[in-house]
Symmetry: C2
């Protein structure tokens, strides 16, 4: 079974409260709808920083969420001098501290993770593709730097677009790009 | 069969002629012997640059070679705005142009590659470990971001230390580090 790849660069999610601290009453605009229903690349960028280093121009994804989360690759983590755990979105107990800066303010939160490899599914997709009751799969990557990627979690939402999400480390190590099709191994 | 991992950060090899252009009559000093017999981390660093960006403090490895080569990860390549092919060391036909800068001078060469995944072997190692006649293997990586890495070439030299070389993209994607032991699959 094939799945389309989406590559996640470092990005930020914010709670409404943290958004207000960073952007006040400015509306959160949509720059581009993502393929996951309701999700979008917003018109807001922030700086993420630690005592060691900072990355400017990090995109805030929308809509606002019930948690503030900063997703970085392991390569980013070495640059930042932090060691965030590999986590599913929203599982933020004990994750790494990071500071998020805008023109107007800054917040420091235990919010930095490296995202688990995952595939977005919903009930209909699971039924249609024979994925009911399956928690995780592997994915076969073709090519000169190919191989098999393990521990790819199926992530349920009410309505999903069937898509594999990998971070830039996984994509760059395997020489694969946004929109590539790869094979699921169950 | 287990093999020890060595992680290669971006680095440079130089010919004697290019070394002289960049460092004149300065002797090439040894900072640290590498585990591959005769190879060393030198006391010289350079800047590697393209029209888009530069990396400072890139280590020159010794001894000098019959070719000038710059090894970068795919992640580095995006930063530099180049698209070097995946190659074995010394296979430089048609590879990417890059400029190497020292305090004293600079050279521009078709020299940038992303290194193939490889394992250093010699005749004795091949015989002792049942690897005679084998060109490439795969490697199993354990852990949360584990999987199987394909197309790992056996690289012969007269005298080798049995060691897997991966670049920082492969290491960071799989959350593995210098000195880790991983399993070869033939």
């Amino acid at each position: 079974m094939e799945v389309i790849l989406g590559v996640s660069n470092r990005h930020v999610h914010l709670t409404e409260e943290d958004y207000k601290t960073l952007f006040g009453d400015e509306p959160l605009g949509v720059v581009k709808e993502l393929v996951q229903p309701g999700q979008f690349s917003s018109d807001k960028k922030v700086t993420i920083k630690t005592e060691k280093r900072a990355f400017d121009g990090v995109r805030l994804l929308g809509p606002l969420r019930s948690y503030t989360q900063v997703e970085v690759s392991k390569t980013d983590s070495y640059t930042l001098g932090i060691d965030p755990p590999v986590r599913n979105s929203g599982d933020l107990e004990g994750v790494s501290e990071i500071t998020i800066v805008s023109e107007y303010g800054e917040i420091t939160r235990n919010a930095a993770i490296t995202a688990s490899r995952h595939i977005h599914v919903d009930r209909k997709i699971r039924e249609e593709r024979g994925l009911v009751g399956i928690d995780k799969v592997s994915v076969r990557i073709p090519g000169e730097k190919g191989g098999i990627i393990d521990n790819v979690y199926l992530k349920d939402s009410e309505e999903a677009y069937f898509e594999l999400h990998l971070d830039t480390d996984d994509a760059n190590a395997h020489l694969i790009n946004q929109g590539d099709e790869v094979e699921i191994i169950i």
